[in-house]
Symmetry: C2
Subunit: 435 residues, 2 copies
């Protein structure tokens, strides 16, 4: 790498699976990564950028010279171009756009304006389209002629547009082959299913689930065909969303270890510091009962157990609700049904766990009343935890908040506080039997 030997670098990276090549690239220092991306063939560099997770790809591109960045971006599909350009700062973005062909640059500018998880943000600007007056022969000839661009349209059916650029039909491959070459497209086309640029990812997933299309035409508010959103792009976006939701729960979002140390520390710390505040609130419940605790010190052994166990039960309920939300099987208005379902699981599991921990406490510390206090507290707190865990994501969704981010910390704080309070207040009540 240090020798800047382009041929050898290429020979090294080319035969590797892309993910392995990317892994190699990301273990290098930032300067060495630049060198590699400058030296390898543009196609390979573009493939590496495409394989890289979002944040890493942006970082790779923004460090490059503008003309090299433009060369690499030029090879990518227009939806990826827009994702990258949209994440760069505006000076870099403008400079790179200036290096692209004016027409491509205009496409990218247009795509950048759309929201990420909408048809506009997920589509490619290139559509395989023909005027309504064209003949079957013209389409077949274009299959053959459009050498360069054909790949870009992969999987797309030819769309038929009217004089105003609105999609009025779609033609099947079979239709093209059966028809006479002189036939007008208007005679063999069928009505297309179109989506608007602001159609959301969930709805797009549903459409692709219901139909076997590989792509859907996307129109602006005025009805003009502006792009095509592919099944593959929708699947990739859904996969990315599923992965990032799980990580947002822990405050690490899209972190990769190849990112700078300070950035990684700062982002994790932000989330942890917020967590400290919640922890202090929960701990203040213990602080209020220090006398009880001092009298029966064995309780301190079981405090973390009760709060931790109910936290786990609650998180199970959060997990099921999040999954049902993402599968579209539950909506905020179903909160009551979800609560009843969770309450029944909570009653069974709370009872089982309560009896179990009561036995443990009794046998360990030799006081049956201590067992009763701990067991009752865990049983009640489990029912509370699953109720909150099942319903909180729905309430957050209803309030327009992201349930993936806020549900966990909210749940843990409440179950910690309630767990500490239940154990310590029950112990205070039954103090004569515990000492």
């Amino acid at each position: 790498v240090d020798a800047r030997d382009a041929g050898q670098l290429n020979a090294l990276l080319e035969p590797l699976p892309l993910s392995a090549a990317l892994r190699q690239l990301l273990t290098l220092s930032a300067d060495d990564r630049d060198t590699v991306l400058e030296l390898v063939p543009t196609e390979l560099a573009a493939a590496l950028v495409e394989e890289a997770p979002h944040a890493a790809a942006t970082e790779l591109v923004e460090r490059l010279e503008w003309d090299r960045a433009a060369e690499i971006i030029d090879v990518l599909d227009s939806d990826l171009q827009a994702d990258l350009i949209g994440d760069l700062d505006s000076e870099d973005a403008e400079a790179i756009l200036a290096e692209l062909e004016p027409e491509d640059a205009a496409d990218v500018r247009r795509l950048v304006a759309y929201e990420d998880d909408t048809a506009g943000g997920l589509m490619v600007a290139e559509a395989f389209k023909f005027p309504v007056t064209a003949t079957v022969g013209a389409v077949l000839r274009s299959f053959v002629d459009e050498d360069q661009d054909f790949e870009r349209y992969r999987g797309q059916h030819p769309y038929v547009i009217d004089a105003e650029g609105r999609p009025v039909g779609v033609v099947s491959l079979r239709g093209l082959l059966v028809a006479k070459r002189s036939e007008k497209l208007s005679a063999i086309m069928i009505e297309p299913i179109v989506v608007t640029v602001d159609t959301m990812l969930d709805e797009l997933q549903d459409l692709f689930d219901r139909h076997s299309f590989l792509g859907l035409p996307v129109v602006e508010a005025d009805g003009r065909l502006v792009g095509v959103v592919s099944r593959a792009a929708i699947n990739a976006a859904a996969l990315e969303r599923a992965e990032s939701e799980a990580l947002k729960l822990q405050g690490v979002g899209d972190e990769l270890r190849s990112m700078p140390l300070w950035l990684r520390s700062r982002r994790r710390l932000m989330w942890l510091s917020a967590n400290i505040v919640l922890n202090v609130i929960a701990a203040s419940v213990i602080s209020a009962y220090e006398e009880t605790l001092a009298a029966v010190i064995a309780i301190a052994v079981f405090l973390p157990m009760v709060s931790d166990m109910s936290g786990c039960s609650g998180n199970q309920a959060v997990g099921v609700t999040m999954r049902e939300l993402s599968l579209g099987l539950v909506q905020p208005k179903d909160a009551m049904r979800v609560w009843l379902k969770e309450l029944s699981v909570g009653a069974i599991n709370g009872l089982a766990l309560g009896v179990l921990i009561a036995l443990v406490a009794w046998l360990w510390k030799g006081n049956v009343w201590l067992g009763a206090v701990i067991g009752a507290a865990l049983a009640l707190n489990t029912m509370l935890a699953v109720s909150i865990g099942g319903v909180v994501p729905l309430v957050l969704k209803r309030l327009g908040q992201d349930p993936a981010v806020a549900s966990g910390p909210l749940l843990t704080t409440i179950t910690d506080m309630a767990g500490f309070f239940l154990v310590l207040s029950l112990a205070s009540l039954l103090m004569p039997y515990l000492i």
Copy 2:
């Protein structure tokens, strides 16, 4: 629903998005679900079964009469057929297979035998194939004639097979259109990329990332073409895996609230009971220091804080490693590099959090030494937690265990124990300054 009015049911469900229709179906009692699936048109019933998550689909089908189940299964793609049949108990499976056409049933039997996340388990048995001696004209005619089956091959390129059934070529649509109709396929075909039935999901994802194919031909060990694995099937499998990994972390796997109460309770309890054992182990550390705790009861307030905060830090590291594993950016052999990276983040964050919590403890309880004990314990435990969290998934993977399931509980137990131990042993050492 109770009136068993097929027409009205269909009118009710048909216009809904599939996910909404499925939501309606799953809120019904099990008996009513059976009624609905018996009454609605087979296509709609099949679409609902297809939309349902894996476990729910199996449950829906296994409750139906065998002949109705066979009607519905007959409409599905063969990969889904195999998934469903494979999950039924063998009596149901045999009875349903007996109702299918012998040829279809044989296909399904064959598919069931393959592992889930391999090309064999993800492929459809129908391949769009032609003998090497066929002409371009024959292929084009089959596009037109194979009315019924054409849809099944969507997105597939025609594969060319030799006399032994081995794929020797693949033909592009463009090639077909450019060539003369009398030309032999052998003249225009290019060499295909083939995968074997035991190719793993990760490798398939990588192949589809590198190439723009919509499908790949799958061969048996003897080289015979036995099916085609599509890009869509790979994407769906990857999405399902990402979602289920996050949930396995909490012991809820593929639970849906429409499942029977006892099943849901039992599965959650199994995981929670294992967790209780880990909790008892951690709590025994506190138990060993009851004297220290009795002397400085304020420590009890901070014990759960230290263990909880380090648990969060460790889980962040687990999250990043799991993501890098799933992106293929890290491998078990990188454990040392990951550890050093985590150690630096841990040092910074541990210091920051330690100072923060030390100030809180000092100001709250009015003893600077108490602050020092708590702060030092949190700082050290944070470094330990991120080290374990970053490396443990890699070690589990190396040992052939599933890192998604075991990393969380293992981490939490160790950080709890270490946190309790650090706080209480430091407090024992500095006891004269704390009282």
